[in-house]
Every structure is written in structure tokens, then in C-alpha cells.
Amino acid sequence: METPENQIAFKEETLKEVGRITAQFPEGMQKSALLRVLHLAQAEFGWLSVPVMDYVARLLHVNPVEVYEVATFYSMYDTQPVGKVKLEVCRTGPCMIEGAEHIVKYIEDKLGIKDGETTADGIFTLKTVECLGACGYAPMLQAGEKFHEHLTEAKVDELIEKYKANPVANYMGM
């Protein structure tokens, strides 16, 4: 569900964090904070709807299109609704040879969704992603900020149970 435009506003502590981040850049260069503020927006609002992006644009005094082009360029941003917990499975070379394809298939079968889809209860989105820098601990997936490495079917079962019981994936420390 898109949040109605007039209700979009960061919580007070998030606004404080935005202030801390923008202060890291020289006067007039506040656009540099954009990527991080979009992470904060995604953590707080779930995904980056047009009204959310417009809000970020107003906050940083940039044109909305400057936010749209960034939000659509980087793979971590969701410009469509996603589940509460994104299971991002690395599919690149070193993970592939250690069984990433099997892990993806196993999650697809278990949750009854395909890569890129969200479960009907809105809890899980499965997404295959490119190299996350865990090649020596493959196969792996990321949920929120956390890396889950050396995956096995049993570990995936455990993870899914955990997130079903408490569908919160820590992201941006939130």
C-alpha cells in the first residue's frame, strides 16, 4: 500500500539522523546524502513510492527526477512494494559453484514463489542478487543487513521459521 502523500514524514529520530548525515558534506553539497537518505526512507516506509521519493527530494532540496534516477539505478532500492523480509540470495560464480541455484530452488519450492515474487502473506520476497562479497562462505543470502552464510536446507528452514514468527529484518539499524 502506498502511504498517502500528506502522511509521508520521517520520524523525529530519523530526521535527526538525516541532519547528521547531511552535515557530513560541505554547504551546498547536500545531494551527496541522497543514497543514504533513500536507504533510511526504504527502511522506514518499506519501499520507495513516488510520494516517498518526492518527500526525499523536498528534504534535500533537489529535483524529484534526481531522486528517481538514483532510485532506479541502484539495485538495493525497491520502487515496487516488497515483503517485510527480503531474502536476497547471491547467485554469482563462487556462490553458484557452491550450490546457490539449489538454495534458490529450495526457497522457491518452500515458499511457493519465484525469484522476484512476494508471498501472499506479505512476509517474504525472494530476490536473487549479484555478488555480495561472501564468496568464501558460500552459499549465502542477505536478509536486512545480516549475512547468512554456509547455507544448507536446514539453515534456510530455520531462517524462514524465525522470520515467520517475527517478520522484522534489521536494516539501517532500524
Partner: protein, 450 residues
């Protein structure tokens, strides 16, 4: 036992905290620098050390530093490239997670050398948890007077901030990194002007990899000459290698650049040999973009000499019979791995990560992915192999940034060394879906150069 300069203390309990790090000799290089050295002295030590960029290109760091423009009244910046995204590479993550203060210490000394008063660590967005570790450590460094105004009464001011990416391999390219840090899409810039003249916010900028900056700490502590004693030839010092693939002991290893590839793969100190008693089929020694080596060129060069873990030895034989040290992302393949599938997988990666500015890369990576997909899935034709060769040749060297080359090289090397396996996929489309080709004949395909 090999000397470790970066990870020597990485195993110590609590080393990620300021107190433990300091107790173990941390921030000595900052004291030495600010009390006894001029910025030029630091640059000189780094030049003497022979340190080369650890992110992949291997450009001499001291020389890179000496290029920075110093126009009056224009601030300069040091940016740390922590966008580690080259498949096979995970050493920077390890270093920042285990021993974050080492990077901060290196940033302080390097910023002093360059005359930068506000430096940034640009870290890939997927490493958000590492960003939190770094910010915590930076706060400790401020609290203990190593960052901020007038550090140790030297008159040198330095602010240090961390800024995340959001999922884009291309931002590891230094001008794309700068664009991204300015809050834009990560499209690489045309050069010149080089970042050393016009970088972040059009100001003179140096971008260095995490490991490069960390290496400045032992260089200042022990002296550039002592550092240059380690290693062979122009491969001085130690290098972090991320070892992965079908080996017994994957992980991050700090090596002196003088050991052989054979020792690195088979010794229990490092990779511990091939997993499950299998045979070695191939190795990508420096991250996904460097040429793959067939088993008979991994431990020996084409001339029959021992291949060493150095910039020069791994490149021995050129692209016909050698590879590159690159970022040190060392991926080992056993006899069961399919080279066509692996090449398709890497090409899909480059297609996914192409920023789309240059047609040869934007279109070519997609074409190669499609052709490789049909070869791998049993719908390929013999001509497809030459078509692939043709496409990669037309990408290489024809793009603004090296992503085009990075996408072309793995395809070229796979065809060069494993052409028979590609042909087998065309001849035996059913069999290739069920089993893998196995060890290839010891032949090198000689492509037509026309």
C-alpha cells in the same frame, strides 16, 4: 611463518574496539607522522615501499598520490574505495569488520600526506552492517583525539565520514564512485580530467582501495624500504587474498608476495587443497574479470616456471597463457565445474552491472549473455563460439571505463582455453545438461587475430 602486516592482530579478542587496538600498537603511525614527518616524507616512504593499488589495477600508490593537483584555496579529498564488488573478492569486508581502526589509522596518515581535511569511506550498500562498525570506530577515534581539529596539537584537521552505495558494481570504478558519492547514478566519467585534478565536487581527489590505505600504516611504522624488502621485484609487501571455490579452506589470507600458486592452493596454511579429493580444473586468480587459467597454467607458466602469487608472475604469458593478480579474488574450480556455465554466470553479472552509457558494453554484455545461455542450455550453434569471440573483441577497449574490458576478458579466456568444452556443448546438447565436460585437453586455442 609468513609475516603479516595487516591481519597480524585481527584474531585478538576485541581488536575492533579502540582500547584493544591502541594497546596493541594502534595509531603509532599517526603519532610518528604528525610528530616527525612532513606530508612529502609520507609520500616518499610510500613511493619507496613500492606499494601498488590493491583494488585490482595495481597502479603505484605513491605515484598516484604525487599526481594530486594543489591549487591554492581548493580543498582536496581522499576517498577510500570500500565498494568491494568484484566476484570472488571479500578481503576488504574482512579487514573492515575485524580491524576497522587499521583503516581509520591509514586514512589519517594518507589524508595528511595528501593535505586532505575531509575524507570519505565509500562502502557498498550491502555492507551496511560494516558501515555501522566503521562509524562506531570513527566515533571512538574522534573521542580519543585522532580525528577532528588540531590532531595531537599538530595543526592538522581531519574529518572522516562513511557513505554507502546502494548496489552497483560499477561504483568500484573511481569516477563512478565519485559520481555516486555526489548523490548521482554511478556513471563513470570521461578522463581527462582525472580525479587527481577534478574529482569529488570538481576538487582534486585521490581514490584508494581499503587494503591500500591500510598498508600505509606498516609502511610508515617500519619504513618504505623495509616494506619493499618483502616480496619479489615490483610485487612488494603483503597481499590479502580472498580464497573461494572448491577448496578445503576458503577464507581471507595475508600472503607475502613470494609464495608459489601451488603452495597457496595445496598447503594447509592456505587453501588446503581441492575439496573432496577432486582434481584442479581451472583457477581465476584475481576476481571474476581476470582471465581464467586452465589447470596446466595455474601452478606453472607456459615456459614451465613455477607461477608465483605476484603481479608479474600471474601475468606471465600475457592473456594467451597468463592472467592477473587483480583484486586477489582467488576462485578455484574442480573437475566437476562447467566452464560454459561459469562464463555465462559471469557474463550475466556484467550485463546486470553495466551502467548503460557505452553501447558496446550495454548491448554487448547482453548479447554475450544470451549466446552463452543458449550454449549452456543446449541450443547453441558452432558459429556461436566465434560470434562470442567477435563480440568480446568489439567491447574491449571501446568503453569509457574498464567494465567493458572486465566483461570481455573472462569470455575471451574461456574460449581460448576451453574451446573444446564450448564445442562439446553444441555437439552434445543433451549430455551437457546432465554432466560436465571434465578435464580438457592440454591445448590452447589460437584465435585468428584478423
Amino acid at each position: 611463518m609468513a609475516r603479516k602486516l595487516l591481519l597480524e592482530n585481527a584474531h585478538i579478542e576485541g581488536i575492533h574496539t579502540y582500547d584493544v587496538y591502541r594497546k596493541n600498537g594502534g595509531y603509532r603511525s599517526v603519532e610518528k607522522t604528525l610528530k616527525t614527518m612532513s606530508p612529502e616524507d609520507v609520500v616518499e616512504e610510500v613511493k619507496k615501499s613500492g606499494l601498488r593499488g590493491r583494488g585490482g589495477a595495481g597502479f603505484p600508490t605513491g605515484m598516484k598520490w604525487s599526481f594530486i593537483a594543489k591549487p591554492d584555496g581548493v580543498p582536496r579529498h581522499l576517498l577510500c574505495n570500500a565498494d568491494e564488488s568484484e566476484p570472488g573478492t571479500f578481503k576488504d569486508r574482512y579487514l573492515m569488520e575485524k580491524i576497522p581502526h587499521l583503516l581509520i589509522e591509514g586514512m589519517i596518515v594518507s589524508s595528511f600526506a595528501l593535505g586532505a581535511n575531509h575524507s570519505y569511506i565509500y562502502i557498498r550498500g550491502e555492507y551496511m552492517y560494516v558501515l555501522h562498525i566503521l562509524e562506531k570506530a570513527i566515533a571512538e577515534a574522534y573521542a580519543n583525539g585522532w580525528l577532528g581539529k588540531n590532531i595531537m596539537g599538530s595543526g592538522f584537521d581531519l574529518d572522516l565520514s562513511v557513505s554507502p552505495g546502494a548496489g552497483a558494481y560499477i561504483c568500484g570504478e573511481e569516477t563512478a564512485l565519485i559520481e555516486s558519492l555526489e548523490g548521482k547514478r554511478g556513471n563513470p566519467r570521461m578522463k581527462p580530467p582525472f580525479p587527481a585534478v577534478k574529482g569529488l565536487w570538481q576538487r582534486p581527489t585521490v581514490v584508494n582501495n581499503v587494503e591500500t590505505i591500510a598498508a600505509v600504516v606498516p609502511i610508515v611504522n617500519e619504513g618504505g624500504d623495509a616494506y619493499a624488502q618483502i616480496g619479489i621485484g615490483r610485487s612488494t609487501g603483503t597481499k590479502l587474498i580472498s580464497a573461494g571455490g572448491n577448496i578445503n579452506k576458503p577464507g581471507v589470507y595475508e600472503i607475502e608476495m613470494n609464495i608459489s600458486v601451488e603452495e597457496f592452493i595445496y598447503s594447509d596454511t592456505y587453501c588446503g587443497g581441492i575439496k573432496n579429493g577432486k582434481k584442479l580444473k581451472a583457477c581465476v586468480p584475481g576476481g571474476s574479470s581476470v582471465p581464467i587459467l586452465p589447470h596446466y597454467l595455474v601452478c606453472k607458466t607456459a615456459a614451465g616456471q613455477d607461477r608465483l602469487m605476484t603481479y608479474e608472475s600471474l601475468a606471465d604469458g600475457g592473456f594467451a597463457a597468463g592472467s592477473m593478480l587483480g583484486s586477489g579474488g582467488f576462485i578455484v574450480y574442480d573437475e566437476d565445474q562447467c566452464i560454459v556455465r561459469n562464463t555465462w554466470n559471469f557474463t550475466r553479472f556484467y550485463h546486470h552491472e553495466s551502467c548503460g552509457q557505452c553501447s558496446p558494453c550495454r548491448e554487448g554484455t547482453g548479447w554475450m549473455e544470451k549466446v552463452l545461455h543458449r550454449l549452456e542450455y543446449g541450443h547453441g550453434k558452432m558459429e556461436d563460439i566465434d560470434l562470442l569471440w567477435d563480440i568480446q573483441r568489439k567491447i574491449e577497449g571501446n568503453t569509457i571505463c574498464p567494465l567493458g574490458d572486465a566483461a570481455a576478458w573472462p569470455v575471451a579466456a574461456a574460449i581460448r582455453h576451453f574451446r573444446e568444452e564450448f564445442e562439446w556443448h553444441v555437439k552434445e546438447p543433451k549430455a551437457c545438461m546432465e554432466r560436465n565436460y571434465g578435464l580438457v585437453a592440454e591445448k590452447i586455442f589460437e584465435p585468428a587475430t584478423a
